[in-house]
């Protein structure tokens, strides 16, 4: 496969492959919002006692995805803004959410694969699925043209596939089988790194027997593991139906939900970055208090905690108390505070740069100790073309920036902002320090809004026309 652009940013604090257990918490703070979900429909009452696996809330806009209680405890709804708080948390036997009485009824409606899909949804495994093109939650009852399973996470730093697969290889292959049983004949693409490691070979040997699983090897360059890039590179056309995509943790969750009928309550997330004293993976449940992770791992007094990777993650402010349900990793960066004297004429032996403008380009690749500094002033674009070279989607960020600067939304749309995968590399490399990523995202939102308005307007006109016709008809009839 041929990829465009891409760039690996090496920085200190890559999590190692181990998985550490965190101590059981006493209180859980479950945020009601995460990147894709907003659990608006509450299903519990203040003070209610719940068991692990009970539904606390649902997101009605996203096929009623449930927010499951990770542990047994007492619900507090009003204590913290935007969170459901579980007090007196205890680990009890989880129970499956689906009542047996419901099953025949569902089976009648949706068939055997329908039950499985229903199970995935109610047991919390469906949250791990993405639509390859839009990144949103796919319709669980839809008919995908293919499933992409990625074992990679190339963004620094997110939970790595190999760390999660360790000791769980059987579960993974069983999960793939379960995934296959959801489909009729559509292929499953298993994305693997194109490196020769013992572990990768092990997986390859395990998968060899599965006819419908196709192996795809890709280079380890960010962001080639992005689902929409993969779907485009695999030649899956958007018009031919949705492409489901899922990562390692998703396949493991499918296995857990369908083979064991147990809800997926624990996640493996990474904790890394230059601001932590020990970068590793930790096994935690959603709602785990961030303060406890902070106490244990973070040593920089002034640091930024990022929910997700360094390039696309969101900043966690002091108002965020617990991990959300979609968290794949915490990255910690020290905030820049000092001003550098004559920074731009330093030789830069320890400063890695996309263009080879520092002495560091003479040495081997190394992991740099980066901070949140902007490293320069905002300037007009000089068309250096770095953003285009690095763009994996094949669009031209600086051109779109110029269009947006002049409010030419239509031209920006024609320049295919919709293809942007929001990987953040363009903003990263820009020597003029233009925030291309957020500008492009804003314009995407604006365009979507405009399209929605146009669609509404058309519907309204249609309605009016129909009314007019009906009125005429009535008049004629009365004559």
């Amino acid at each position: 496969m041929k990829f465009r652009g891409g760039h690996n940013i090496l920085l200190q604090g890559r999590p190692e492959g181990m998985i550490k257990l965190m101590p059981e918490p006493e209180v859980l703070y479950l945020p009601l919002r995460s990147r894709r979900f907003s659990f608006g429909e509450l299903c519990v009452e203040e003070g209610q006692q719940v068991n692990g696996g009970d539904v606390l809330a649902r997101d009605l806009d996203n096929y009623s995805v449930p927010l499951l209680a990770p542990r047994a405890g007492r619900v507090r709804l009003t204590e913290r803004e935007g969170h459901i708080v579980l007090e007196d948390v205890a680990r009890l036997a989880e129970h499956a959410e689906i009542d047996d009485e419901d099953l025949p009824h569902i089976a009648q409606e949706m068939g055997a694969s329908g039950i499985k899909r229903y199970r995935l949804l109610t047991l919390g495994a469906w949250q791990f699925f993405y639509d390859a093109y839009s990144g949103s939650l796919p319709d669980p009852l839809g008919r995908p043209q293919a499933i992409i399973v990625s074992t990679l996470s190339l963004e620094p730093f997110l939970a790595r596939g190999d760390a999660q697969l360790h000791n769980r290889l059987l579960n993974f292959t069983r999960g793939l089988e379960q995934l296959q049983s959801l489909l009729e004949y559509q292929p499953i693409y298993l994305v693997m790194p194109d490196i020769k490691s013992e572990f990768a070979n092990l997986i390859r040997n395990h998968i060899r027997g599965y006819a419908s699983v196709k192996m795809v090897s890709i280079p380890l360059t960010y962001p080639y593991d992005d689902f929409s890039i993969l779907a485009r590179r695999l030649g899956l056309k958007r018009s031919e139906g949705p492409v489901w995509s899922v990562r390692t943790e998703g396949v493991l969750a499918v296995d857990r939900a369908l083979t064991l009928s147990k809800p997926c309550l624990v996640r493996i997330i990474s904790i890394g970055g230059t601001g932590v004293n020990y970068s590793t993976h930790i096994s935690v449940m959603p709602g785990y208090p961030i303060q406890r992770i902070r106490d244990k791992y973070i040593f920089e007094p002034v640091s930024r905690i990022i929910n997700g990777g360094i390039l696309t993650g969101e900043r966690l402010g002091p108002e965020a108390l617990g991990l959300d349900t979609e968290c794949r990793g915490l990255t910690v960066l020290p905030e820049l505070q000092d001003r550098e004297f004559l920074g731009f004429i330093r030789p830069g032996w320890d400063r890695s740069c996309y263009a080879a403008c520092y002495l560091s380009s003479l040495r081997d690749k190394f992991r740099e100790r980066l901070s949140t500094g902007l490293h320069g002033e905002g300037r007009p674009c000089v068309s250096c073309n770095f953003c285009e070279d690095v763009c994996p989607a094949g669009i031209t960020p600086h051109l779109i920036h110029k269009y947006l600067y002049r409010d030419l939304i239509e031209e920006a749309e024609q320049a295919r902002v919709d293809l942007c995968i929001e990987c953040g590399l363009c903003s990263y490399v820009c020597p003029s320090k233009i925030d291309l990523r957020s500008q492009i995202i804003d314009s995407k939102v604006l365009i979507a809004k405009e399209k929605e308005e146009i669609r509404k307007e058309q519907l309204r006109q249609e309605e009016l026309r129909k009314q007019e016709e009906a009125r005429k008809q009535a008049e004629e009839n009365s004559k």
């Binding site: 990022i306 390039l311 969101e314 731009f344 403008c357 901070s371 300037r379 320049a415 903003s427 003029s432």
Partner: protein, 364 residues
């Protein structure tokens, strides 16, 4: 350093909006950020940024022309330093004036123009002409279009073009014989020996070549020929140019396509009529071709942005240079060829984008 930072903090209110010298804020800001990088941090994702900023980016160009500037000192004397100073002073004045009116920061782009401009002038150019030319180039060539990043033409070339058209005689009379001493003019000689203040008109290799006389290639490579201050030594230009390509500040595609198309066309001509058209390697090293290719045409702002556009752009510049040199009354065509290339750059980009969008649409 801490002392300096304290001083800067102490006088900052004077230059803030509403302060006594509020109008000079861009100048103050430029000085402050020259000494101390700002401590701004990223707001959202991506949370880290590449350490390269525009100051460093432009410094790379300045570093890459340092060998050429030394060659200018060596061959044409320390008068060249005066030209550089005048160029910077005059151009910075225009730049700062516009920054104050626009209430923006002073852009680093000028630091490149300021050093490139004297390098492409004849070494004997009167200082007032240097000042006038650079002011014209920055004003008409850059600021009227909206400043760094928005200009269509290379400001240094606009300035040179202006001088060449407005004062043709004075310009062609300003070429000097280079110093042939071992130490050149490095030992603080104001002008090369044998050259008075009223410079003796010396023909450049290209104008001599019109008469069918070709100077030796080794002189062109070393640089001991008459010509614009920085363009004589081919070896040093290539040295600086390759450095610029390696740092990725200049794009190799432009360079390869200019030189490639130039060599191809010049080769065809030379093989067709060897007595009329000069040898190709000689043409490659003579005049401003190498300097223009490495330092002028690779200016990212005025060239096309797309990679395929850069190939076409280079072909236009390379072949137009051959045509001007060999078939018109002008002996040197690089300035005009690059300016012509600047004009076509937006169209080339437009064409490339059209093709690319069609390809992207077929991918989905």
């Amino acid at each position: 350093m801490k002392q300096l930072l304290k001083i800067i903090e102490a006088i900052r209110p004077t230059f803030d909006e509403g302060g006594k010298l509020g109008i000079l804020k861009p100048v103050f800001g430029a000085l402050e950020h020259f000494f101390f990088a700002p401590s701004d941090t990223t707001i959202g994702a991506p949370h880290i940024r590449d350490p390269l900023d525009l100051k460093r980016f432009m410094s790379m160009v300045i570093i890459s022309v340092v060998p050429c500037a030394f060659a200018a000192f060596y061959f044409f004397g320390w008068r060249f330093l005066a030209m550089v100073i005048v160029s910077y002073a005059s151009g910075l004045a225009v730049e700062a004036l516009f920054a104050m009116v626009r209430k923006e920061g002073i852009n680093e782009g000028f630091f490149v123009t300021g050093i490139l401009f004297p390098l492409i002038l004849p070494p004997g150019t009167p200082l007032w002409m240097v000042g006038l030319g650079v002011a014209f180039g920055v004003f008409i060539g850059k600021e009227l279009f909206g400043g760094t990043g928005r200009n269509v033409f290379n400001p240094a070339l606009v300035g040179r073009c202006f001088l060449a058209l407005a004062y043709p005689k004075a310009m062609s009379a300003s070429y000097m014989k280079p110093s042939h001493d071992l130490l050149g003019c490095l030992l603080f000689k104001w002008l090369p020996p044998g050259t008075g203040v009223d410079a003796v008109t010396v023909a450049t290799p290209l104008s001599v070549a019109k008469g069918g006389e070709y100077c030796s290639l080794s002189h062109l490579l070393f640089g001991s020929v008459s010509g614009s201050a920085g363009e004589t030594s081919a070896i040093l230009i290539i040295l600086g140019g390759v450095f610029l390509l390696l740092t990725r500040v200049a794009n190799w595609r432009t360079v390869v396509s200019i030189l490639g198309s130039f060599l191809l066309l010049a080769g065809i001509l030379h093989h067709g009529q060897p007595e009329r058209f000069g040898p190709i390697m000689w043409h490659l090293c003579a005049g401003g071709l190498l300097f223009g290719t490495f330092f002028m045409a690779t200016d990212p702002v005025t060239g096309p942005t797309t990679n395929s556009g850069k190939w076409l752009y280079g072909i236009i510049i390379g072949s137009v240079t051959v045509l001007i040199r060999n078939f018109t009354g002008y002996v040197e065509g690089v300035t005009f060829a690059i300016l012509l290339g600047n004009i076509t750059a937006p169209i080339l980009d437009e064409i490339v984008f059209k093709v690319r969008l069609r390809r992207l649409a077929s991918e989905e």
